[in-house]
Symmetry: C2
């Protein structure tokens, strides 16, 4: 049955039976049924830590749309929480974390042993693996060390992440120690997800674009490469998708130097450049603007058409960023229909 999974086929350089499609934030607030389950769960973190409900919301988009992958429902900040950081989500305010800004703060954080605590996440993964149809690939994920570190250093979201960027730039020893702990813990966390049944993992580096030459190698590329090395050491042979958002013209370098099987491309990245990034080893994923799905009509059609010019053996159809809550469900249906019509024609 393995060859029926189009996503896995593309990532393993085998010919897929159709172009694989999934969407970032495909489980989310644009779906009524998600909002109902979310209300039932209590807080957002309650939902993440409830295997039954997290399984349910992961499966919801697959009941509506003909997709090739499910992505574990969780949050990139569960791992720092397990490492010892206080975490809460304030309505409309985003995450609030106890800040990590000194050597003492870092020394208090747990390393890879933190991953062992995230048992509800692994239970969700096991549930999903049992529940998913044979053609659907299960994706696990974590935040990239740089992105997670920005939230830890800033104590939450921050428009410019100046404190984290200055700490990185100055190579503060406590910051480098924080990155090392995050690399260790992230590798252990992903390895556990794989043990529980994740077939692919994606590493989300939302703020990769913060770092220029020199820092990019140290805090974006090396951590991803190191996580992959540790995964292999632990016997986890799954393909890794790296999503280094905002990286622009450094995507090529990221693709070549990390060891990822695929690179997620941000919205706005030219399709012609995505074509340049393709190598025999690395496929591309992305990158329809989520706003094109809100706009619908010709804009959506044209955006899909442009991406279908990428070879379907080397491309995973996705958005360039997650769905927004105001996305009309009918536009998502239309988008999937447009993508699938290519296979009908072929």
């Amino acid at each position: 049955m393995e060859q029926t999974k189009a996503l896995l086929a593309v990532l393993q350089h085998r010919s897929p039976w159709r172009r694989p499609v999934w969407f970032m934030r495909q489980a989310g607030r644009y779906l009524d049924e998600y909002r109902r389950t979310r209300a039932q769960a209590g807080s957002f973190l309650d939902l993440c830590y409830n295997p039954d409900l997290a399984t349910e919301v992961t499966l919801q988009p697959l009941r509506r749309f003909d997709l090739d992958a499910a992505i574990l429902f969780a949050d990139i900040l569960l791992l720092p929480q397990a490492m010892g950081v206080d975490l809460s989500f304030q309505a409309g305010e985003g995450p609030v974390l106890s800040p990590v800004r000194t050597e003492a703060d870092v020394n208090r954080l747990r390393r890879e042993e933190a991953a062992a605590d995230l048992t509800p996440v692994y239970e969700t993964v096991r549930n999903l693996r049992a529940a998913l149809p044979a053609h659907v690939t299960l994706i696990g994920f974590c935040g990239a060390p740089w992105t997670v570190a920005t939230y830890m250093v800033e104590g939450g979201s921050s428009p410019e992440r100046l404190r984290a960027r200055l700490a990185a730039m100055r190579a503060e020893p406590w910051f480098d120690a924080l990155m090392d702990r995050l690399i260790e813990a992230s590798a252990a966390y992903l390895a556990e997800q794989v043990k529980a049944g994740a077939e692919v993992v994606q590493i989300f580096d939302t703020w990769a674009g913060d770092l220029g030459d020199g820092l990019r190698e140290k805090y974006v590329i090396r951590p991803v490469r190191e996580i992959i090395r540790r995964l292999r050491e632990k016997g986890a042979e799954v393909p890794v998708i790296g999503f280094a958002r905002g990286i622009g013209a450094a995507q090529l370098q990221f693709a070549r130097e990390t060891g990822v099987a695929a690179v997620g491309c941000e919205a706005g990245m030219p399709v012609s450049y995505m074509r340049d990034v393709l190598t025999p080893e690395v496929v591309v994923q992305g990158n329809l603007d989520p706003l094109a799905v809100i706009a619908g009509g010709d804009v959506l059609r044209e955006g899909v058409r442009r991406l279908l010019t990428l070879p379907k053996e080397r491309h995973i159809f996705n958005l360039g960023h997650g769905f927004r809550p105001e996305t009309p469900v009918e536009h998502v249906q239309e988008m999937v229909r447009l993508i699938r019509s290519e296979d009908d024609a072929g």
Copy 2:
């Protein structure tokens, strides 16, 4: 004396006597003398519209640092104000504009005749041209139509500019009409600056990275090309620097298709990619991270060193984004010393 202007030489494909250097927001809050003049002026807009004080703040960084260009002190929102939009700056809140969101709103806006009202700006340009040393090039500027339109549509700053992006995506007729008026008014505004003495103009497209394939051509590339065409029609032959921030891997396309003499490169853009963007027609400007100037020390030295590997006949040293208010003046001095030491050695 013309050949003593290093910036102009590089933009005109002549050999400069040294690598030209200037900095975005070189006149600004990181300088004590700026803060004093600013307090004396009253509001920020009072400062922009006071030719004596605007001249003074433009000249201030040149008294401290050995730079190759002065850039007119003004704001990209003066032009929409002249077109008929209400504008104010709230302390700590950024600009507030009367929003433009309908055909009626657009029809009320003045076109190129708006430029005639900005006489204090042209007086500042004339003052500067008379005051500047012979080796310093005077740069005029305007906001790019897309960026200015985002402020007009949103009614101010906005973290994601969703309303403007959706209007562009949907090709709303009123939005296209707004862009046309901005193109006309911007070309007239720049032509007046050139008439008053600006030797180079820069077009700031801060939010160019908002737009992907298809929209980029329509709302970023075409407007800049069209402004340049109109400038030439009006007899203004000055070189144009295009700064399309956030454009990432589309910089190459922007450089090739707009007709600019130079592209400003954002912080984070790999120096190797800047080298790829260089063509016989287009030179690169940028792109030291302003945070590296705050950090100082090895970070600053290494960042400067990396940029000095670009050929000095084809590169204008600058930041990748404007100076931040907390920038230590001694670090700016050190940066200029590091750049100049290349010429001493050569």
